[in-house]
């Protein structure tokens, strides 16, 4: 199963980044083989709609699940439309820890946007 999660640096042992759209890196993890690969988050420098842009990227990687600190309405709607399950970090510190918690079923799944969205239009 392919999982994407937001992290503060391109390393599985790095601290998680709670931001979805503007989280520094997206780590792609294969839960069967435990291999990982880091992508710079395309939403980081977006002028607006970072969440929508990051969601589009996640969908293009054909991920089944995504883990982050919060999902605004645009990210939520996009990920939901793409059929990607969303999970929250909660008190998790590192990306590695997040994957372990995810596999143990300890992360909360998101059923609605968790924030009002950061900014849109201008």
């Amino acid at each position: 199963m392919k999982i994407l999660l937001t992290a503060s640096s391109p390393d599985i042992h790095s601290p998680v980044d709670p931001r979805f759209g503007r989280g520094a890196y997206l780590l792609e993890v294969d839960s069967e083989t435990q291999t990982w690969h880091a992508h710079p988050n395309p939403g980081v420098n977006a002028s607006g709609g970072a969440g929508a842009q990051a969601a589009q990227f996640v969908a293009a990687q054909q991920a089944q699940a995504v883990i982050s600190g919060d999902f605004g309405p645009n990210a939520f709607n996009a990920l939901q439309a793409a059929g990607i399950a969303m999970f929250l970090y909660g008190e998790t510190r590192t990306a590695q820890e997040a994957i372990e918690k995810f596999q143990a079923g300890l992360l909360e799944q998101v059923a609605a946007p968790t924030g009002p969205g950061h900014h849109s239009r201008r």
Binding site: G48, Q53, A55, P73, N77, A82, G117, S120, R121
Partner: protein, 291 residues
Amino acid sequence: MKISIASGKGGTGKTMVATGLALSLAARTPEQPPLLVDCDVEAPNAHLFLHPKLTEKQDVALLIPAVDDAKCTSCGECAKVCQFHAIVVLGKKTLVFPQLCHGCGSCTLVCPEAAIHEIPDKMGVLERGPSETGVWFAHGVLDIGEPMAVPVIRQLKKWVQPSPGQVALYDCPPGTSCPVVESVRGSDYLLLVTEPTPFGLHDLRLAVQVAIELGIPCGVIVNRFHSPYPPLEEYCAEKNLPVWLRIPFDRAIAESLAQGKTLIEVDPHYSELFCQVFEGITAYLSNPTKE
């Protein structure tokens, strides 16, 4: 002639000056009263002082894309051109985020299947009408939860244009970014209301830079004046900014404004002072080198 009233900092007395000036000009030339346009669409207040009859109303809408799923081939051209990520392609689905859309029409133009058409998305309302004092009044009201004030201001200014020879006054929002620029654009003069404090001065400097960027001459009204604040006086002198009026700090004025009274109602003497400010500006504009 078009005069904008702005400030940088909020709460310095823009609306007090704009309504005071409008009433003074209406009394001065009752045959052609001025137009007052409240461009602070996030927090419009001028109507609370002038009590106009808002007889005409118009919705402000942005044209946003709607995708015809039957024609869409998910080619992703629309998502590629959208600078705001307001339209994204997720597998076989093309999704539109109205809150992100600027209404530029670029996606509609590039769609090779002609699968996108545009639909209006309401974001606010415009209202206008006369007040009993003669002032012609108009304002825009941004809908709650809508982030974008600029299109409302843009449409408001297109909707109400002064007749030939009529003075138009634009009461601007606070700040120095895009909503202020949209409000001030096209004005002949920018009247900046400030207060004699470090905040007032800091924000006045920013507002003056906006005026310079836009190439609009500007001058100052100092509100809540008690004693000269030397850094402000020095700044105005250095930048050659005329100080048209100093309105003293007076608890009676503050109390009356709180009750929804205008400065003219508090002290009719101001009517004459505002007319002098207006005449001063007119003279200054016809011969700017004199200053």
